[in-house]
Every structure is written in C-alpha cells, then in structure tokens.
C-alpha cells in the first residue's frame, strides 16, 4: 500500500471510533455521515454530510472530528460539508443496521420498499426488534429524533423506535 492509502485507512479507523451524539451505539462511519476521505499534498480532506437539514448533532460531530484528529496529531486537514447527494439510509453499513437492531431500534428498510406517497398508505411492515414479529403498528410518523418514527409491537406490546427510511 502507498503511504496515502495507509493514511486514509488509518484516518477511517480513527473516525470509526467517533460515536454519533444521538445514537451513540453507531459511529459516524456506520451512519454514512463520513462520505469521503482524500489526501492531497499532505492535506487530509474529510467530506461529511448531515442526516437531516436541522440535525442538531452535526455541529457536535464537526467538533468531535476536529478534536479526534488533533488528538492523533493530524494537523493538516480540511472538513467539507456537502448536501448533495443528499444523505440516505442506504448509506448505513450492514453492521450499523445490526447494531441498531441489537439495541432495540428497528433498522431502516431498503429504500424502494417504503417512501409511499399515497395518504394513509401503510408502510411495509416493520419487524419488532425484540420478538421479531411483523404484527406491529405505527404510533407516530415522528419520534424521539428527526430520523425516527414510533412503533409498537402488537404481539409483545414493546414500544420501539423505527429508523425511518430516508
């Protein structure tokens, strides 16, 4: 591997340890917030994208990336925030989805399965992260954070968060 490739792998590993402030079980790499890492003339360029326009976590994430890089003695870097292409749950890693499920949050379905625009059209069934049953119902389209909806399982009665497809 060239020096630059080594650097990029190293930086990716460092960033992979930064937890998302609102979903601390996931790293910002798992969530797909870190879009790209490049090294040009010794300057590390890190491209990040917010999940939702109003996500309050993005400023904290920005700060944590800077602090982490400084702590690892990486001084020459540039943080770029891009909005396009817009963030989608498709960018979440498979291990990230499994982690969500392990912690009681139903992971997002693949994009084409939902995002139904017809009114009162039910989204595809979401499996309860506790008992696995598909006999669940939506309580509210909006949940504890912008990226989640509230559901309840009709079988085991567990209320749970569903990470909306976006």
């Amino acid at each position: 591997m060239t020096k630059i490739e080594t650097d990029i792998t190293l930086i990716k590993n460092i960033l992979g340890k930064i937890a998302d402030p609102e979903l601390p079980i996931l790293s910002i790499v798992d969530l797909g917030i870190v879009r790209d890492i490049t090294v040009n003339n010794g300057i590390v360029e890190i491209n990040i994208t917010p999940t939702y326009s109003g996500c309050p976590a993005i400023d904290v994430i920005d700060l944590e990336i800077r602090a982490t890089l400084e702590a690892n003695h990486i001084k020459n870097y540039r943080l770029i925030r891009s909005l396009s292409p817009a963030w989608t749950t498709e960018w979440m890693t498979e291990s990230g989805k499994q982690l969500l499920k392990d912690h009681g949050i139903a992971p997002p379905l693949p994009l084409q399965a939902v995002c139904e625009t017809e009114y009162f059209q039910r989204d595809e069934a979401i499996a309860c992260p506790l008992c696995g049953s598909y006999n669940t119902r939506m309580i509210s389209r909006f949940g504890s954070t912008a990226c989640k909806a509230q559901y309840q399982c009709n079988e085991c009665l567990e209320p749970f968060d569903y990470f909306k497809c976006h």
Binding site: P50, Y52, S53, G54, C55, P56, S82, L83, S84, P85, A86, W87, T88, C115, T117, Y119, F120, I139, S140, R141, F142, G143, S144, A146, Q150, K164, H166
Partner: protein
C-alpha cells in the same frame, strides 16, 4: 440573488418558528413531537439558505444576523407562513398549504442552474415529503371527522386559502433569475398545486373555496401585523443582549 435566497430562507424560518410555538403545547405528546420535528427540519433548511446568503452578501453578515437583526420590512417570506397558529385546524392547514407548495417547489429547484440551491433543494425535499403526508392526513381525518372538527377545518381552509395566491406571484427579484434558470418558474407548478390541494380538500369532504381575493405583499416586505409580533419574540434575546451566546 441575495434577495431571492433570503426569500427562500425567510419562508422556512418563519414557518419553522410558528411550528416551534407548539413545542410543549401539543394536544398529545406524539403530535407535539411531530410539529417540533417539522419545525427542526424547516429551521435547518433556513440555516443552510442563510449560510449561503451570507457568502453571497460577503459583507460580514451571518446566518444569525439575517435571522435576528432584520426588521419586518426586510423579511421576504410569504404571508401564509406568518399567520398565527390559531387552533389545531389552522396550524395543520397552514402547514399543508405550505408543504404542498414546498414539495413542488423544491422538486423544481433541484434542477436549478445554481448548484448550491439545487443541493439544498435535494436535501430538503426528502423532509418535505413527510411534512406533506402528515399534514394532509390530518386535514382528511378532521374534515371527514366529527361535526365540530369538520366545522373548524372548514373555517381554517377558508381563512388561509386567500394566502395561497401569493405563492405563485413572482417578485421582481425572481423574474430575472427565472431567465437564468436559477429560480423556479412559478407558472410551471401552479396548476399541479391547486390540483393537489383541491383533491385533499375534497377527500376531506370539505367544500372548495370559490374564487376569492388573494392577499399579497409578503415577498416584497409588506406583511400582515402578525410578523412583527413573531419577530419581537424570536429576536428579543439578541436585541436585548447583543451577541449573547450559549
């Protein structure tokens, strides 16, 4: 260009601020959270737009100075979004009339020759789909609900319909940018807009408002009295304690 970006930002900020007035006052917890989330999305869209406006102005203006240090006459939002919350029916109707507009508007703005506006539109549109669906479903549920909910929805629709006309009147700062393929040509989305909202109003078993006088002026700074009160509350802290930070 600056005026145009501020107009888009003001629309999102004022709509978002109105919804945030419900935070802690929603009829049930889930709907309180829903309105707060919609407010968060809209204020987030406004931030992206104000940040872009600050780079265009390039005179030391910031997203905060645009939001907190301009008076009502400098605000370019449409009259619809500044209308008071009223009861639940009025809040929902205002949100639906606005979301239905934003949905078509951002979809068109995605094709703008200005790459920054196109990417903000792309990002925002995904959020607006949820707002539109949520508010339309409430209109249908309540319009087609009890005698009382039907009566209130009917009042709200009739009260706010007169502010929809302005959405399609191009301000002087828009016309030039339409030629350059930067701003959205409002004529291209008007027909779809009324078709969409009329369909929802009919499904809600509410009578369609007839041809009515349309109020205009907000986009060029001539507002209803309500915006002044909204700004007084929103800007109080920065006016009383300049540069306060937390």
């Amino acid at each position: 260009m600056l005026a145009y970006v501020l107009h888009l930002a003001d629309n999102a900020l004022v709509a978002g601020h109105r919804n945030s007035e419900w935070t802690g006052h929603g009829p049930i917890l889930e709907q309180d959270i829903a309105l707060s989330n919609i407010a968060l999305d809209l204020v987030g869209q406004a931030r992206n737009l104000y940040q872009y406006a600050a780079t265009i102005a390039n005179d030391g203006s910031t997203e905060d100075s645009f939001a907190y240090l301009r008076d009502a006459r400098e605000y370019k939002n449409c009259l619809l979004v500044e209308q008071p919350n009223g009861d639940w029916a009025q809040t929902i109707t205002r949100q639906y009339f606005f979301s239905a507009f934003q949905q078509l508007y951002y979809a068109a703005l995605k094709g703008s020759a200005d790459k920054t506006l196109a990417s903000i539109a792309d990002k925002s549109l995904k959020e607006v789909h949820y707002h539109n669906k949520w508010s339309a479903e409430w209109i249908i549920r309540l319009g087609d609900g009890t005698e009382e909910s039907h009566r209130r929805m009917n009042l709200a629709v009739n009260k706010l319909y007169q502010y929809t006309g302005e959405l399609f009147e191009a301000a002087h700062y828009e016309s030039e940018l339409v030629k350059e393929n930067i701003a959205v040509d409002l004529r291209t989305i008007k027909e779809d807009y009324y078709e969409n909202i009329n369909k929802v109003i009919s499904t809600a078993s509410l009578p369609l408002p007839g041809n009515t006088f349309m109020q205009t002026g907000g986009k060029t700074g001539l507002h209803t009295e309500h915006l002044g009160y909204l700004l007084a509350e929103m800007q109080f802290l920065q006016r009383a304690y300049p540069n306060a930070n937390w």
